[in-house]
């Protein structure tokens, strides 16, 4: 049963595969077939423009900086300044990535990369901008490629090896953290391996290390080259062998597909569909783009039960609002503030399990803040909320409040001109069709109509109605 108009389907597709469409993008797409639009999304941007906030040869890790301090190359003040500058670069990386998402170019790739950031969750350690920059670019580069390559590349990222303590995983002194998370969170999921498998796999991953310059290195002298028994097989396995064994197990395809389904389709898993998709994903040799194309092309993707079933993450909410209305922030801090207050700060996932998502985003205070967000962004309303500090002296830079109002520039002109043909009375429904997953209910329409006054200019009416629609709980959904 499909009652969605093509316009509704496209709106939903862009909301899921990207961060929502502008009216102009939607009009443009409606001249094409759905199939063509999906193809376009999946095949967009074969080459990826890297994020860059630091040149590899100018990066100094905290440890290197402290070494320079001890040798007298830096005084105390300079040391502090440099450490601060590193934290600032991680912040800049966050904002640069956010801007990419907002731009609307290669949007499925950015959306997938955001998904992978939650999957291969890595929290910035040692405030090293170079490591985080490489990590982000690796996720973005492989986001729509092959999961085999992505898994290997993400696992070998210095940021990840550092975060999961693999530098401390040595022959005769194993640290199991990395091996455990690779199995539990990156590939198989809990219950599909034994503690013994982890112990033995940890031995195989010994020697996977990195240099301060951000290069992966295999250090044979700390690698345990003895015989290991993993998943019932015996051999002198190394890290690459373990990754290959994990990929060989169809459970990995099942685990990844289920997670993609929950993120892109519905929090509630449809077991049969996921089984089918997983089988295809496995047979296709872990081709991510092919999996996404199958999902977006499927009739069931557009089923009524999936429409509005996804609660936007804070980054999806912020990026979507900015993209739809062409919003630019005059200062960097408010966007960090929003992410932090709502609980999703890029490069600072809560732990290696990533952001829980779904209903976990919503509690009394986050919901009120979300409903107030259009006010802050579009009406420069006073911000009276302050996020908690997490206690880490190194993230204080990110905790600082961005001032009591946000200064923004909104590209209303482009947005408004798409509605020139709409009648005044038709505005609430026309705008709702762009902004919300469902048509307005009668009581909502009355409420929205009350936001405008007679004698207001067309432009004022559009702005008022838009801001009001964005304050509805339904705007939190796609």
């Amino acid at each position: 049963m499909n009652h969605q108009t093509k316009q509704q389907q496209l709106r939903y597709l862009f909301a899921r595969a990207g961060f929502g469409a502008t009216p102009a993008e939607l009009n443009e797409a409606s001249r094409s077939t759905l199939r063509k639009v999906v193809r376009q999304l999946v095949s967009n941007g074969k080459s990826v423009a890297s994020l860059q906030v630091v040149e590899p040869d100018e990066n100094r890790t905290k440890r290197q900086l402290k070494g320079m301090f001890r040798q007298g190359q830096l005084d105390k003040e300079m040391l502090r300044e440099q450490i601060r500058a590193n934290a600032q670069k991680v912040r800049d990386l966050n904002l640069q990535w956010l801007d990419r998402m907002v731009s609307g170019t290669d949007v499925l790739r950015e959306k997938m990369a955001l998904f992978w950031h939650g999957h291969f969750a890595c929290r910035t350690m040692g405030r090293n901008p170079l490591f985080m920059q490489q990590y982000a670019n690796t996720l973005r580069e492989h986001a729509l490629g092959n999961f085999r390559d992505l898994l290997m590349a993400a696992s070998k990222e210095p940021a990840m090896l550092q975060f999961l303590n693999n530098q401390q995983n040595r022959k005769n002194a194993p640290n199991e953290n990395f091996a455990r998370e690779v199995m539990e969170l990156f590939t198989l999921g809990r219950g599909n391996y034994s503690e013994f498998d982890i112990k033995e796999a940890a031995r195989a991953f010994t020697g996977w290390q990195f240099t301060p310059e951000g290069e992966f290195v295999f250090r044979a002298q700390v690698h345990d080259d003895g015989e290991k028994k993993i998943f019932g097989k015996t051999g002198t396995f190394n890290g690459e062998d373990v990754i290959a064994m994990l990929l060989e197990n169809p459970q990995t395809a099942r685990f990844i597909t289920a997670k993609i389904y929950r993120f892109f389709v519905n929090e509630t898993e449809d077991k049969k569909r996921v089984d089918q998709l997983a089988e295809q994903f496995y047979k296709n040799g872990y081709d991510i783009a092919a999996l996404m194309e199958t999902i977006f092309m499927a009739d069931w993707f557009y089923d009524a039960k999936n429409i509005g079933a996804h609660i936007k993450s804070p980054v999806e909410l912020l990026v979507g609002l900015r993209h739809t209305l062409g919003v630019q922030f005059d200062q960097p801090q408010p966007q960090i503030f929003v992410q932090r207050t709502l609980g999703q700060l890029l490069f600072y996932p809560p732990n290696v399990a990533g952001w829980p998502g779904g209903k976990n985003w919503i509690d009394s205070s986050s919901l009120l803040f979300r409903m107030q967000l259009p006010n802050y962004v579009l009406k420069t309303a006073e911000v009276t909320v302050q996020p908690k500090e997490d206690g880490d002296v190194n993230t204080q830079l990110l905790a600082r409040k961005g001032g009591t109002t946000f200064r923004t520039t909104v590209n209303w002109d482009d947005f408004e001109k798409e509605f020139t043909k709409t009648t005044d009375a038709g505005l609430p429904d026309a705008l709702a069709a762009f902004l919300l997953p469902f048509p307005l209910r009668p009581d909502q329409r009355i409420l929205i109509e009350k936001q405008t006054k007679t004698g207001q200019s067309r432009s004022e009416q559009i702005r008022m109605v838009t801001a009001a629609l964005m304050s509805l709980p339904e705007y939190q959904l796609t």
Partner: protein
Amino acid sequence: MNRRKFLKQSAFTTAGTMLIPHFLKAYEAQMMGQGLAASNGKILVVVQLSGGNDGLNTVVPYRNDIYYRERPTIAIKPEKVLTLNDEIGLHPAMTPLKALYDEGLVTVINNVGYPNPDRSHFRSMDIWQTASDSDAYLQTGWVGRYLDAACAGKAQQPFRTIEVDDTLSLAMKGNSLNGLAMLDPKKLYSQTRSNLVTNLSKEHSTNEPETVSYLYKTLAETVSSAEYVFNKAKVPGTNTTYPNGELGNRLKTVSQLIQAGVDTSVYYVSISGFDTHINQPGQQERLLGQYAEAVGAFMTDLKAAGRQNDIMLMTFSEFGRRVKQNASNGTDHGTANNVFLIGGGLPAKRVLNEAPNLSKLTDGDLTYSVDFRQIYATLLHDYLGVDDVAILGRKFNGVKIV
């Protein structure tokens, strides 16, 4: 901001809340007759010290040579320590806490931690807040699961657990219900109100997706909780003077809500700044002073109201710090730490267990002997009178505080 301006600005926000009344009616009708969560009248106040408070300079082992050897420039001199017994004593900035101890209101638990400790602030705080093992990741907190249990099959009332803050900690998130974050009753109330709220009594659609009803349910619970607390808390406030500063203000709010008879069993408050890698002494002295003064005022206030035995305040930090100081007059991340229990009608004046053994360290850190979940189990079972196993996921042997 004047009222007029506020209303103008909040008009859009309230667009959503305005839709609540009819929904709320249906919702409350549904809840009616299901009864209210039971409470044994006991109240727990959790005070979280974020950043990893240096426990060894808070409860000082002032007769231990190793302590003085490992901390040549930051150790607290023996003559300055506020002695609790012949082994340990409090940091000199904590006079009000020492006074409470002398009155028999403070219990000190040493060497609290958990197996395979994590030295990352965020992760260790997660572990404390979710009460998980250090290799498991839970999406709900222990107070949130307490709330789930308290309201199961009864009216869903987020205000049964309140965090005095603008945002809600993971500790407060349950499976079916989240606690309420509220810095002050008036602020939250005004966020959920406007005189534009009228009786929009159209039927709420019944076959809408679960996400929609979840958002409106959250909104309805927020609005009704905000209204309940605001109306209850209208009574005149306390006469006790609280120190200026964040913790003082927040504990004052807690006291006002308690004395106004708000039906809340757990309050959660945090204070940050304990990540003292550099120049620890001045920083920690200031923070511990704020803490002790605020807690002193709070207990004085409650004693005056005759409530000191119904209120228990627990203080913890996500980890302690290394025994050996670093090169910057500070300390780095460690593991086991001490926990304070204050009030609650506990037996008078004691240190519950042995002082830290500085000659038996694990990787240079204190070795834990009490799992923090044993303390949670005791608070849940013996103090709040609920099923600790259901909330903590398994049985932890309680600590013998009674």
